[in-house]
Amino acid sequence: MTILYLLTRKPDPTFLAILSEQKKLHKVETIDLGTNREYDKIVDSIVAADKVISW
């Protein structure tokens, strides 16, 4: 499964723990919306991901 995380704040320890655990079983991609402005590509990533989680 492909999981896409969209970050809107600084990663916290709980996020990092969850990310680390999910990476053992899934393909995980992270996009920092604070710095990434390539919105066409971001939409494509949202479409392509099995799960999208904002954090």
């Binding site: 919306l33 919105y39 066409d40 971001i42 939409v43 949202i46 479409v47 991901a49």
Partner: protein, 100 residues
């Protein structure tokens, strides 16, 4: 894809407009629901103008807007004054939901 965007802060305006415009341009349906601090963005013409885009619908939690004191009188009719029912509907019907 039907994309739901829950806007519960006023900190991600650029991402909101960028993702909404990009998704609309690609022919995706976008449903925006604003609540809590996200209703502040209803005072921003750049946010309000998203309701004019193809395949984009917008609504907001009136309870939040009243609590926060948002000036919402000049809002276009396309932006629906609503409740958590619209949030429930967005989540029920969207393929993907992001939170900004």
């Amino acid at each position: 894809m039907k994309l739901g965007i829950l806007v519960n802060t006023n900190r991600n305006f650029q991402a909101l407009t960028g993702i909404t415009r990009a998704a609309s341009g690609k022919g995706h349906e976008v449903v925006i629901f604003a609540m809590d601090e996200g209703t502040w963005l209803l005072e921003d013409p750049g946010c309000v103008s998203l309701s004019e885009l193809a395949n984009v619908s917008m609504s907001y939690c009136d309870h939040s807007a009243i609590e926060i004191g948002v000036k919402k009188e000049p809002l276009p009719e396309a932006i629906e004054r609503s409740s958590q029912y619209n949030n429930a509907s967005m989540n029920h019907n969207a393929d993907k939901v992001i939170v900004l």
